[in-house]
Symmetry: C2
Subunit: 343 residues, 2 copies
Amino acid sequence: MEVRHSAEALRRFGERCFVAAGMDREGAAIVTDVLVHAEERGHASHGITRVPITVKRLRTGVMKPRPDVKIEQVAPGMALVDADNGPGPIASVRALDAAVAMAKTQGVGVAVVAHSNHNGAGSYYAERALKQGCIALCTTNAPPSMAVHGGRTPVIGTNPVTMGVPGGDVSLLMDMATSVVARGKIVEASKRKEAIPQGWALDRDGRPTTDAVAAEKGVVLPLAGAKGSALAIMVEVLSGVLGGGRFAGDLGNLYQDFETPQDIGHFFLALKPPGEGFEARVGTLVGQLRQSALQEGVAEILMPGEPETRRRAQSLAEGIDLPDNVARDLDAVADLLGVARLA
Amino acid sequence: MEVRHSAEALRRFGERCFVAAGMDREGAAIVTDVLVHAEERGHASHGITRVPITVKRLRTGVMKPRPDVKIEQVAPGMALVDADNGPGPIASVRALDAAVAMAKTQGVGVAVVAHSNHNGAGSYYAERALKQGCIALCTTNAPPSMAVHGGRTPVIGTNPVTMGVPGGDVSLLMDMATSVVARGKIVEASKRKEAIPQGWALDRDGRPTTDAVAAEKGVVLPLAGAKGSALAIMVEVLSGVLGGGRFAGDLGNLYQDFETPQDIGHFFLALKPPGEGFEARVGTLVGQLRQSALQEGVAEILMPGEPETRRRAQSLAEGIDLPDNVARDLDAVADLLGVARLA
């Protein structure tokens, strides 16, 4: 049986867990806000379910609860951010805000974050930029779980690309892994013993498979073959290689490695549209695209991020369902920390 | 029978055609260089075969041979470029160089081009940036030939994304349309009456088809469904909406419309890697990725742009084959202009 919670209740729960695990109030609020953002938008894999692993990494000492984030302005439009091995969102919010501030005076600004950890859904940062009138490009690397084109072993992350564009009635918010599919979907299908479509993954011996259990032991494939592989490599360059942190096969695993910091890197670019009328022109583009004739079975043309925006409205109106197993994990972490359960 | 030509012979031929069609020597050299670059790298669709259509557009007066390109510096890191309806490469080279110059002082620079025409293979500009030590992101819009996700009519171009990264032994050069496949491949299969794979295209009624003839009358699909569709929309924003030119369904068709300028837009971003050792770290990444175990039938892991770099070496050593029909078209345009034929 699923139990429904308000976003506000999830937020208070996350904050009290993170404070109990050693974070200050401001840091706890940022990290929680990123998780609740994903939860509201229907991306539960990046939502409140991440509280236990975050707490575990804080308590084992492999991630710092109160990092001393340092921003070095290396050029008028370029900053290097040292996340000091704190939670990814804390350095990421500061980096994004720095990129937006640069964009407002320079036209464009870049902040590259090194020595960080998982920073949640990239859409959080892109949305934060577009609310300030900027286009944003945000990328992050991730521990290796994907093959490159022609390969059959995990040598690169599913390195997502996120972009936000301020529009009038409809802002655009693209947030996509460079894999065919999120690895989480393979894990879910494996649990349910369901088949997966051809082209999603290879088994441990490098053979294409539709068996989710075999795929889970194998490797997820990049989207569109060489194209997704190239995109993932470019994300690795921007997020990992550029900032001077570790990258690709050297990144620590979130769930398995409690000895080594993850050393994740992120890239944030903000761009201030010059002149007047940009948002209205985005509206014109959206209007044009919506006039497309529809494929059979399709009710309407949706813009990038629009399904999630609708889901958020629903989440805020009706509350958010948590599966039993997630609720149990949250109860366990509350008990461990000696804070109130979610209820 | 195919006839083989040196890149140098192709270059001299292109230049004399464009000068005869009204361009100055410098402009003719740039436009030709972009075409020969594609030809050398094995992308014949963007190669010397474009001379006749370029000449036709110049002679009908729908494109200016000697544009007065204007660069307006709107912020320290942002320039708007008015291509004055000249050949795309002329404004694009100036814009790319402006972006690189900004990157060298500001860390990052953007030049957005409006009122332009087809600018050839994006890899030309990304390579020009990486030779100057900069990472580059280059995009362009294109007349509508692709559906957006859920649609079945052409409402957007196959809007390519190009990135270049300076490396030590291996630089990275990604150049990809956001469609499943270049429309040219469907046209070729249609001519040969061959089947195309499921998922490439829809027929005129919006049904998936493997019949290339039906697909040619229909619409090409974005890569990876919603993801490629979102990427194409983002490219449209950067290349078309941002610069204030026309976009999406309002762009003129290269081959069919000789009344209206194309009004294509391009986007160029250059980024100077801060600090020392970036290119060596790219080399380390490449080394890591090459250690991947290989899929059956794959001989080695190649980096983005590497197949084309090898092809170029072969083209320079052995010359470039031109199919009979292309050679005939080139003879015809030479005769029309009263310049020496290629052979």
